[in-house]
Symmetry: C2
Subunit: 202 residues, 2 copies
DNA sequence: GTCGGGAACTTGTCACTATCAAGATTGCCT
DNA sequence: AGGCAATCTTGATAGTGACAAGTTCCCGAC
């Protein structure tokens, strides 16, 4: 068998079969992009990774466990993205919204799972931690505004900003937006639409 | 057997088994509210309706066909709701947004299917007609504003209004909003958040 | 009235899936 | 070297969507 080291072996911990956990999560992303989270099959992931049909369950417990890990990964990526955008743009709320939308477009599979709590274990510790990191990044965006609201108004503004970015992203992914009215570039489209309402805020 | 007429028989066309098509759609709503669209099972619907496991396929072709009919029903209900709200409120865009959110809360099952095109047959004629009816109701809300935008700006405002209402509804259903910051009444919460951004528009 | 024709539904089957139980392999630590 | 635990496999069960072929029943034409 040559007991071969496969792929990305140096970074992770080399197990029996390289880093199966990572390989499964990566395979899940492309599988979900193709058929959506509903069509995801643990056995299909196992086939893609070249392992037996029951191997995934060992790492994640069950299907919901795998999607919990997948959603957690997504929230961490989103928190990183928002933090980076907030830094690079000097705290522009519009750019934060555009970054949110672009994350959804670029990581569709993750985004679609992240906000579907019936698919994963909602009370997982790692998951809730990653969710709070994302929430904090959003809150920072509103807090950094020139005329930042305080008290309950701050929460409302935060939710309003989150809602419009999230809604645009969701509608775009669901192909609900006609491309003949808004074009086919999500970044330009998001900037046009979000600026309608972000602008008065900052 | 008494060849009994069952339930709502006078309204529809009395078939073999009453109105199975309607019964299946109704059962689907409660099933989806319990387990989400992914957990929906045609065989479970058949059991609830007291028919054999293959009966649903006869009416809807396949699972996607049933969800196509379900989504169509949802778009028609939403279009009706928005038209009624627009009338009753004298064309308030804020009320239209609140109505949108409340539709999502009150008809969660329909709403969750409507914007998940991978679940149904996207090119169904009845479906696209109902979708356009909904879009028209939204457009009318923006067009009725005191300082209604024209040209491309109208489309952007329409999409902005749609986005924030849709985003708030989605986040609320996904339990992403903390109830300790915004309360647990969706109508009041929606009014607070949407007014943040609808207000400057009208 | 009866008698086809067709719609509504049933029965049976196949391939696929998630989940569980129990065994086999392999790296690692003492 | 020996043992141990984690990784992975094999096997089996119950449930699912889809398909094919049969059965029941209404309804309109003759």
């Amino acid at each position: 068998m040559l007991s071969g080291m496969t792929e990305e072996d140096a970074a992770g911990r080399p197990y029996h079969h390289g880093n199966l956990r990572r390989a499964l999560l990566t395979a899940a992303a492309t599988a979900i992009e193709d058929s959506g989270p509903a069509g995801l099959s643990l056995r299909d992931l196992a086939r893609r990774a070249g392992v037996s049909h029951a191997a995934p369950a060992h790492h994640f417990g069950d299907k919901a466990g795998l999607l919990t890990a997948f959603a957690t990964e997504g929230f961490e990526m989103l928190a990183d993205t928002l933090a980076r955008v907030g830094e690079e743009s000097g705290g522009s709320l519009l750019e934060l919204g555009v970054g949110y939308v672009m994350f959804a477009v670029r990581h569709r599979a993750h985004f679609e799972v992240m906000f579907r709590p019936e698919l994963f274990h909602r009370d997982d510790a790692g998951l809730t931690a990653a969710q709070q990191r994302t929430r904090a990044a959003l809150r920072a965006g509103v807090a950094g505004l020139p005329a930042a609201p305080v008290g309950p108004a701050a929460a409302h503004s935060e939710l309003a900003a989150w809602s419009i970015a999230h809604g645009f992203a969701t509608l775009w992914l669901g192909r609900a937006l006609r491309t003949d009215q808004i074009g086919d570039d999500p970044e330009a489209a998001a900037r046009l639409v979000l600026s309608r309402l972000f602008a008065p805020l900052g």
